[in-house]
C-alpha cells in the first residue's frame, strides 16, 4: 500500500513541485484502517480520481493562504450564520467544520439517491396505511404493538386526511457505508429532520473559502432542492400565495439558529406556538394588524408538543386546538403529526417485507439488520446472540427507564446492567430491538496539516416537490473524532463536513431567485408577528439605554482626565451623575461617593448589575438572537462585536484612558447599529417598532437627565454636563453665543423640535410611527397608544422652558412609560400586564 500511495502524488503531473510535495506528503501519511472501506483510497490503496483532483488543486494553495481563507470564511459564516450553538452563561459552542468535503461521484450518488427516494416513498406509504385503514396491521404484516410503543403513534390522527394529501414533506436518512462498500440506512428521520440548514451553511463556507476549486469541480448546487421544497409546501395550501410558517420550539432549541436561517432563506415566517391561534378549524398568526391566516406550517416541534389540549398537556411550545384545525383541514402541517412513528427502530426489521408489500419492489438500499423482540422468534434469536449484537430501545417514548437510551453493545455493559437487561427482555420484550453492529467507512479529515481517516455518517434529504420526490445533491456529514468505526459510537464530539456530489458535466447555476412570471410587484411586507414587534421594540429600548449609560460613563472618565471638565474632581454634579447610574441599576448604592473611575468601570462591566452596559448589551443581543431571521448579517455581527469587546474589557481593570477608549468604541458601534437601522432597514412595521422602542427610551432618559441637571437650581457645571449627555453641545454653541443659561438649555434638551435629541423630537417621531401602524378599531376611534401620546404631544409643543417644573418633567416621563405599556398591550403577544397562561388542574 505504501508504494502505491507514494506514487500517487506523482499522478498529478500538472502540479507545482511544492504542491506535488504536499500532496504526496498527505497521501503517504494517510492511514485508513485495514479491512474498512475508505472514501479517499480504493481497495487497492490508490486514491480515487475525484479526490485526487480535489486534493491536488487544494495542495496548490500555499499553506498560509489556505488557512487564512478557510478561517476567514468560517469566521464570517459562523459569526452571522446558523451554526449549532448552545446558548449558555459562557457563550456558545460551535461545531467544527472539516476543510475537506466528502466527495461522491455520479455513480455513487445515483445509488444513494435511488435508495433514499424509494425509502421516502416507502415510509410515506407506510404512514398512509397506518393512519388510514391500517390494513398492514389487520393482515398481520405489522403487529399493532410494533406501532403503539412510539410516542409518535398518535391515536387522535387515525383516519385524519392530511391537507395536501401527504405525511412527509421532508425525509432524511442517516447512511453509512458497510464493509462490502454498499450504503446502508442506519436510521430514518421522519419527525422533523434537522441539519439541512447546516448543509447550506457548510456549503457557503467552502464555496467562499476556495471558489475556484468549487467552480472547477462541477459540484452540484443545493438551491434547486430548496426551491422544490418550498414549492412542495406551498402546494399543500388551498390558495395561491399562502402564508407559510416555520414552527420552532424557540431560541432554547439547540437547532434554533438553523431554523431561523432556513426561515430567512426560504422566506417563511418563523413562529412559536404562542404566535399562533387555532380557532374554528383554522390557524392564525398573531400580528400587529390582528389575526392573519397561516396556511401551511413547516413543523420543527415534536408532534407530542404541538397541542397542549389534546396531546402532552405539559407542553409550553404548542397551540391549543391545533389538532382540531389539522383534522378540519384548515391548515397543512408538515411533516404531519404522527410521522415520527417511522423513526421507531422496531420498524426497521419489517422494512424489506413492507417494501415488497407496499411498493411491490425490493429494498434498493438495505437498513441495518434489526430484530424487534416483541416477536417470539426474533426475541429468541436476539437472546441467543446477545454477545455480538447491539441492543437499542425499540421506540422513542416517554418514561423508558434508563436501561438503554442509545444503542449499546451488550458486551460493553456491566454484569449488573446485563442482568437487568435480560430481565427486562423477559418482562417487556417489545421495548427492545437487537441490531447487527455496523461498521462505518472512513473519510479524510485535515487535522494539524495532516490527513487522517475518520469514520462518518451521512444524512441525505428527500423532499416532496410538485415534480415528485427530490433528493438534495449533497447532505450533512458528521465525522467522529475517535477512530471507532462502530456506527453506534458516533457521539457528541462530532465534526461536520460539506458533501460534494460531482457531476460529469458543468452544473447549472441557480439561486432562489423566482422566475419572472412567478413574481408580482408588491410594496407592502407581510404582517409583522406580534412577537417580532415585541422583540424589536425591546431591542430598541435596550440599545438606547446602553447608549445613555455609556454617555454617563464617558462623563465620569473625562472628569478625571480633563481639568476643564464640568465635574472635575467631585461635587454636586458628580454625585448627581452617580445617583443616576444607581437609579438605572448600573451601580450599587454603596458606590455613591466612591471614585469616578471605579464607578465608570462598574457601570460598564458589572455583570451582576442589571443596568450595566454589558448587561444591557447582552439583553439586546439575546433579544436579537430570538429574531435572527429579521436582522441583517451586518447588524448581527456588530452586536456580537460589541458584546465581545465589552466581555474582553471586563477581564482586567482599565485605566481612565482605556475605559474612555472602550466607551468611545462602544458608542461608535451603537452609532453604526442605529445607522444601519436607519439606512438599511426596510421602512415597514418592524423598523417602526425598533425605532419606537428607541424613541420612548430616549424620551424617558432625556426627561430624567433634565430633572437631574436642569432643575431650577442647576449650576453651569450641571448644564454643561447635560449638553454633553444629550449630545447637544455643538447645536447649543452654534445657536446661543451667550454661554450657558438654564432656560435655553432646557428648551434645547426638552422642547426644541429641531434637536434630534430633544424630548419634543422623540414625541413627534412617535406620533408619526403610530399614525402609520395598522388600527384594529373598525369604528375609527383612537386606539389606546394614541390616546396616551397625543395629549403629551400637545403639552410638549405648548410648554415653556422657563416655567417647566420638575414635577411636569416627571409627568412627561410617566406618560412615556404609560405609552410603552399601551404599545405592549395593543401590539404584543402579551400586554404589559401580561398574565401567564395557567392550566386548569384538579381532580374533577
Amino acid at each position: 500500500v505504501a508504494a502505491d500511495t507514494a506514487t500517487a502524488g506523482r499522478e498529478r503531473q500538472d502540479l507545482e513541485p511544492s504542491a506535488a510535495k504536499r500532496l504526496s506528503g498527505w497521501l503517504r501519511g494517510y492511514r485508513p484502517i485495514q479491512g474498512i472501506p475508505d472514501e479517499l483510497f480504493d481497495r487497492m490503496g490508490r486514491p480515487r480520481a475525484d479526490w485526487l483532483s480535489f486534493l491536488g488543486d487544494f495542495a496548490e494553495y500555499p499553506e498560509r493562504e489556505f488557512k487564512s481563507r478557510f478561517d476567514l470564511a468560517t469566521r464570517h459564516i459562523r459569526d452571522t450564520g446558523v451554526t449549532y450553538r448552545i446558548y449558555g452563561e459562557d457563550g456558545e459552542r460551535s461545531w467544527p467544520l472539516n476543510p475537506l468535503p466528502l466527495i461522491l461521484n455520479q455513480k455513487e450518488w445515483k445509488q444513494i439517491a435511488e435508495g433514499v427516494e424509494q425509502r421516502a416513498n416507502l415510509i410515506e406509504a407506510l404512514l398512509q396505511d397506518v393512519y388510514g385503514d391500517a390494513s398492514l396491521v389487520a393482515d398481520g404484516s405489522l403487529p399493532a404493538a410494533a406501532l403503539t410503543g412510539s410516542v409518535d403513534f398518535i391515536q387522535a390522527m387515525r383516519g385524519v386526511k392530511p391537507r395536501g394529501g401527504r405525511y412527509l414533506q421532508l425525509y432524511a436518512a442517516d447512511l453509512g457505508r458497510g464493509p462490502d462498500g454498499r450504503w446502508w440506512v442506519l436510521d430514518d428521520r421522519t419527525q422533523a429532520p434537522s441539519g439541512a440548514g447546516y448543509a447550506l451553511e457548510n456549503r457557503l463556507v467552502l464555496s467562499r473559502a476556495y471558489p475556484n476549486l468549487y467552480n472547477a469541480m462541477n459540484v452540484e448546487r443545493l438551491a434547486s432542492f430548496f426551491d422544490g421544497f418550498r414549492k412542495g409546501l406551498a402546494a399543500a395550501a388551498d390558495r395561491a400565495d399562502p402564508r407559510i410558517c416555520l414552527l420552532t420550539p424557540g431560541p432554547f432549541s439547540e437547532t434554533y439558529f438553523e431554523q431561523a436561517h432556513l426561515a430567512r432563506y426560504l422566506g417563511f415566517l418563523l413562529v412559536e406556538g404562542d404566535d399562533l391561534v387555532a380557532r374554528d378549524g383554522r390557524v392564525y398568526v398573531r400580528t400587529i394588524a390582528g389575526l392573519k391566516r397561516a396556511d401551511v406550517i413547516y413543523r420543527r416541534v415534536d408532534a407530542d408538543f404541538i397541542d397542549p389540549l389534546e396531546l402532552n398537556s405539559a407542553s409550553q411550545l404548542g397551540t391549543p386546538s391545533m389538532l382540531d384545525a389539522i383534522r378540519a383541514g384548515g391548515v397543512a402541517m408538515l411533516n404531519m403529526p404522527g410521522s415520527g412513528l417511522a423513526e421507531s427502530k422496531a420498524l426497521l426489521g419489517f422494512m424489506p417485507k413492507l417494501c415488497r408489500r407496499l411498493l411491490g419492489e425490493e429494498l434498493k438500499m438495505p437498513n441495518v439488520a434489526t430484530w424487534w423482540c416483541g416477536q417470539p422468534v426474533e426475541r429468541e434469536l436476539v437472546e441467543r446472540n446477545l454477545d455480538v449484537l447491539a441492543i437499542a430501545p425499540a421506540f422513542n417514548g416517554p418514561a423508558q427507564d434508563g436501561a438503554a437510551s442509545r444503542p449499546r453493545l451488550v458486551a460493553d455493559l456491566s454484569p449488573e446492567e446485563q442482568a437487568a437487561l435480560r430481565a427486562r427482555l423477559t418482562d417487556r420484550p417489545g421495548d427492545f430491538v437487537g441490531q447487527e453492529v455496523v461498521q462505518l467507512s472512513t473519510m479524510p479529515v485535515l487535522r494539524a496539516g495532516k490527513l487522517e481517516a475518520a469514520p462518518f455518517v451521512l444524512r441525505v434529504y428527500a423532499a416532496w416537490t410538485p415534480d415528485g420526490m427530490r433528493i438534495m445533491p449533497g447532505g450533512f456529514c458528521r465525522t467522529s473524532e475517535r477512530l471507532d468505526v462502530r456506527a453506534i459510537s458516533m457521539g457528541e464530539d462530532a465534526c461536520t463536513a460539506d458533501v460534494w456530489v460531482i457531476d460529469d458535466k458543468p452544473v447549472e447555476r441557480m439561486t432562489l431567485l423566482a422566475s419572472k412570471e412567478d413574481v408580482k410587484v408588491r410594496r407592502i411586507m407581510g404582517h409583522l408577528p406580534s412577537r417580532a414587534a415585541d422583540n424589536l421594540f425591546w431591542l430598541g429600548r435596550y440599545s438606547e439605554r446602553a447608549e445613555a449609560t455609556l454617555r454617563l460613563a464617558r462623563s465620569l472618565c473625562t472628569s478625571l482626565m480633563d481639568s476643564e471638565s464640568a465635574i472635575h474632581g467631585a461635587g454636586e454634579t458628580l454625585t448627581g451623575l452617580q445617583q443616576l447610574l444607581i437609579d438605572w441599576g448600573a451601580l450599587d448604592e454603596e458606590a455613591l461617593g466612591g471614585g469616578a473611575l471605579e464607578a465608570a468601570r462598574d457601570a460598564l462591566h458589572d455583570q451582576t448589575a442589571y443596568g450595566s452596559v454589558i448587561y444591557l448589551v447582552r439583553a439586546a443581543r439575546r433579544t436579537a438572537a430570538s429574531m435572527r431571521e429579521r436582522l441583517s448579517a451586518d447588524f448581527w455581527s456588530l452586536l456580537n462585536q460589541l458584546e465581545k469587546e465589552l466581555t474582553e474589557g471586563a477581564q482586567s481593570p482599565l485605566s481612565e484612558a482605556e475605559a474612555l477608549q472602550q466607551v468611545e468604541s462602544a458608542l461608535q458601534i451603537l452609532a453604526a447599529l442605529s445607522g444601519l437601522a436607519q439606512e438599511n432597514m426596510n421602512r415597514v412595521a418592524g423598523w417602526r417598532f425598533l425605532d419606537m422602542g428607541r424613541r420612548i427610551e430616549r424620551g424617558v432618559n432625556t426627561c430624567r437627565l433634565a430633572r437631574t441637571f436642569a432643575h431650577d437650581a442647576a449650576t453651569t457645571d450641571d448644564l454643561d454636563l447635560l449638553l454633553d449627555l444629550a449630545d447637544s453641545q455643538i447645536t447649543y454653541r452654534a445657536r446661543y453665543l451667550v454661554g450657558l443659561a438654564l432656560t435655553p438649555v432646557r428648551d434645547m434638551v426638552l422642547l426644541d423640535p429641531f434637536n434630534t435629541r430633544s424630548l419634543a423630537f422623540q414625541v413627534h417621531t412617535l406620533r408619526d410611527h403610530l399614525a402609520v401602524l395598522p388600527s384594529l378599531q373598525a369604528d375609527g376611534m383612537l386606539e389606546e397608544p394614541n390616546r396616551v401620546l397625543l395629549p403629551l404631544a400637545t403639552e410638549v409643543e405648548t410648554a415653556e422652558a422657563g416655567a417647566l417644573s420638575a414635577a411636569r418633567m416627571q409627568g412627561f416621563e410617566r406618560t412615556l412609560l404609560r405609552l410603552s405599556g399601551a404599545v405592549a398591550d395593543r401590539y404584543f403577544l402579551q400586554g404589559a400586564n401580561a398574565v401567564p397562561t395557567v392550566k386548569l388542574a384538579g381532580l374533577a
Binding site: P143, A144, A145, A156, S321, P398, D401, V835, L840, A841
Partner: protein, 311 residues
C-alpha cells in the same frame, strides 16, 4: 341498574379570567355493559363555542371556549345510565398471564378496544423496577391472569393507606408507591405500572362508584365522588376485566364508566387552558343515584377501615 348522575365542578378565581378553553370528558361511554340513556352538559357562563368530538380512546368530548371575563366557572354534567355488568366468572378460569402477554404483543387490533395501546409506559405510569417487583409477587408462573390481577388488587388495598391529604393530582406514581398511600388515582396508577412492568396491557378507567349511606341516614347531596380503577386485558376470550384496587372489588354494576385511557391524563374529566392571574379554588360535587332498585349494596368493605367506600 339505572343511575341518575350529576357531576358539578365549580372553579372560583381570585381575579377575573378573560379566556378559557377546555376539553370536557364528561359524557359517559356507551358500551356493551352500559347504555347511556340521556346526557347533557351545561357550562356557565355561556361558552362562545362548543364543539363536540370523539377522543382517541372513543370518549365523547366537548371543546368549550369562553371568552368573556368571569370569576366563577360552573360545569355540570347530568346523565342517566343503564349499567348491566357481566358477571366476572371464575377467576381461575382464565389464561395463564404469560399467554396473555404473548397474545397482546401479537394482536392485530390497533385501536383502543385491543391491548396494543395499553402495553407501554406513559409519563404517569412509568415502568419502575420497584413497582414491577411488587407486582411480580402476585404473578407466579402459570397463574391465571384474573386470579393474579385480583391478588395484586387485594394487596394494594391492604398495603396502601387511603389518605386524600397525602397526594395531589400530580403526585408521581413512584412517590405514592414508596409511601404506600394515596387515593383511587394513585392506586390505579400503581397497579397499571406494575402490570405494564410485566408486559401486561392495563387501562385507566375514570368514572363513578355508587355509595351507600350509613344505615338509617339519608343520602347526602353531592357526597359522592369521581372514582378511578383499572381495566386489564385478559386475553382474547375474557377481553377487558375491571379491577378496583381502592376497594379490592371487581368492577360491576356499581361502577359507572366515564372514560378509558392509558393513564389519568388521557381521561381527565376537565382539561383546559385559562388566562388567569390569580389563584383558583375548585369544588367537585357528584351524585350517583340509583333509580329503580331496592337491594343490598354489592360493595364489600374488607377490613372495614373507617367504614364506607373509598374513592
Amino acid at each position: 341498574v339505572i343511575y341518575s348522575l350529576r357531576h358539578r365542578t365549580t372553579y372560583r378565581y381570585e381575579e377575573a379570567v378573560t379566556f378559557a378553553r377546555c376539553v370536557l370528558r364528561l359524557t359517559p361511554r356507551g358500551s356493551d355493559t352500559q347504555t347511556v340513556l340521556k346526557s347533557s352538559i351545561t357550562v356557565t357562563p355561556r361558552p362562545s363555542s362548543v364543539k363536540e368530538g370523539r377522543g382517541p380512546f372513543g370518549e365523547t368530548t366537548q371543546t368549550v371556549v369562553i371568552d368573556k371575563p368571569h370569576e366563577v366557572l360552573v360545569i355540570e354534567a347530568n346523565s342517566r345510565i343503564d349499567v348491566h355488568a357481566k358477571p366476572t366468572g371464575d377467576p381461575l378460569d382464565s389464561e395463564p398471564w404469560e399467554a396473555v402477554r404473548a397474545a397482546a404483543y401479537k394482536t392485530s387490533l390497533l385501536g383502543p378496544d385491543g391491548p396494543a395501546p395499553f402495553l407501554y409506559p406513559t409519563r404517569r405510569t412509568p415502568v419502575e423496577p420497584a413497582i414491577t417487583a411488587y407486582a411480580r409477587e402476585s404473578f407466579p408462573a402459570g397463574k391465571p391472569i384474573i386470579a393474579a390481577a385480583a391478588d395484586l388488587m387485594t394487596r394494594i388495598r391492604s398495603d396502601f393507606s387511603y389518605d386524600p391529604e397525602a397526594t395531589t393530582v400530580s403526585t408521581p406514581t413512584l412517590e405514592a408507591f414508596e409511601a404506600r398511600h394515596g387515593v383511587c388515582q394513585d392506586f390505579a396508577h400503581v397497579m397499571i405500572s406494575g402490570l405494564r412492568g410485566l408486559g401486561l396491557p392495563a387501562a385507566y378507567v375514570s368514572g363513578y362508584l355508587r355509595t351507600i349511606p350509613p344505615p338509617g341516614k339519608p343520602r347526602l347531596q353531592g357526597a359522592d365522588a369521581t372514582h378511578a380503577w383499572v381495566s386489564v386485558w385478559c386475553g382474547q376470550a375474557r377481553s377487558w376485566v375491571g379491577f378496583d384496587p381502592t376497594n379490592a372489588i371487581m368492577a360491576g354494576d356499581d361502577h359507572i364508566v366515564l372514560a378509558i385511557g392509558r393513564d389519568y391524563s388521557d381521561v381527565a374529566p376537565i382539561d383546559g387552558i385559562i388566562l388567569a392571574p390569580g389563584v383558583q379554588t375548585l369544588k367537585v360535587e357528584v351524585d350517583v343515584i340509583p333509580q329503580n332498585v331496592q337491594r343490598e349494596p354489592d360493595v364489600r368493605r374488607p377490613g372495614s377501615v373507617g367504614g364506607g367506600v373509598r374513592a
